[in-house]
Symmetry: C2
């Protein structure tokens, strides 16, 4: 069997000052650390994590080997940053839905639309985390499973509230509906092209129309 990888993916953020957060990432989009991360994600997505070398990443951002290592010690650390950012992006997406002053039904619609938007906005990142599951699962990155379960639990909870409010049919299974919504939007990581006719908001709204109203006449 392949040995467990030697490096530890950072399973908790270092001190507040150093940690990469979505806020920092989005605020300093053009700084070199973020450009490295974006380039790494694009390369991992296209070639697979195992097939990308640090020098490929350096080349993509115009940094020498020394220059690149000054900013990041290894590609495993870059993958860990991508995993952490994806987790935080989805948490923020769910929190923004939960915080709405709206009916559970409206929250579910907002969930579908904002999940499409979030995945499409950071498609390289999300492709990497779903594509590189074996590698990520092997690593000491225990937060991921917990975070994913919390996310799914949050969605189930909104569905249950919609059922309790009588907005959703009693026959709907909250777990199965959560999986259906998760999948119809999550699958976009494979097919979404920014060049298409519809933007992610429009696609999310169409998906919500189909599943909320039903497609049959």
């Amino acid at each position: 069997m392949p040995a467990k990888p030697k490096m530890r993916l950072r399973s908790h953020a270092p001190s507040q000052d150093e940690s990469l957060t979505v806020e920092r990432y989005l605020m300093y989009r053009s700084n070199v650390a973020n450009r490295i991360l974006d380039a790494a994600a694009a390369l991992f997505r296209k070639h697979g994590f195992a097939n990308v070398r640090m020098q490929d990443i350096g080349l993509a951002v115009g940094l020498s080997k020394a220059g690149l290592y000054h900013h990041c010690p290894s590609k495993e650390e870059l993958l860990a940053d991508i995993v952490r950012l994806c987790g935080e992006l989805l948490t923020i997406q769910l929190l923004s839905v939960q915080a709405l002053s709206a009916s559970p039904k409206e929250k579910l619609k907002a969930f579908v639309v904002s999940r499409m938007e979030t995945i499409a906005s950071h498609q390289d990142f999300f492709t990497v985390i779903w594509q590189e599951r074996p590698f990520i699962n092997r690593s000491d990155f225990t937060d991921i499973a917990k975070r994913a379960e919390a996310y799914r639990g949050g969605v189930r909870q909104i569905i249950k509230e919609a059922k309790n409010a009588g907005e959703i049919s009693a026959s709907v299974d909250p777990h199965l509906l959560m999986l259906a919504l998760d999948g119809m939007t999550g699958w976009a990581y494979l097919w979404y092209r920014g060049s298409g006719e519809d933007n992610p908001t429009q696609i999310g709204r169409a998906f919500w129309d189909y599943i909320s109203q039903g497609i049959l006449k």
Copy 2:
């Protein structure tokens, strides 16, 4: 940039007698070649293609290195077989739906249910082809893209027929609905566990109920 891999994934089947087909695979499930393929798929799924060695596969099926190489020359060939079988499995699934003497609406329901069943029955295979996209895309395996487009086109066609028959709302976009159905079922490769309460047929029917009738009261 990483170099293009040296091996060619077989882009067309060899002569009829040697080629691995779904029929042969299912008929001789317990023969050694198929056991090798199943073991390889399970290992690729769990550890990632790049992290599995031929000797891991040999170990899993109790074959020496020489014994294993007698049956298959490389793990790239095994991946090529997995890709080919997945393509054929989905083609068979779509053809079986198209062949039904039923209304387009009933065909769409059968499509959702049989896609869930097919993915769940061969989850290792499908996980590998979706997980290993960068590797598969880099290879000279030109049939894949064409086959995938034919599959999607076939689903869109059934949706269009359902619209023309007045069974489905005129506002439904056939391409977006195809993507929604594809995703809600395809995503199961990530979450399906045989141990759950519902079997794939029941899950597929529930998904169809949600999207056909709508979840709102």
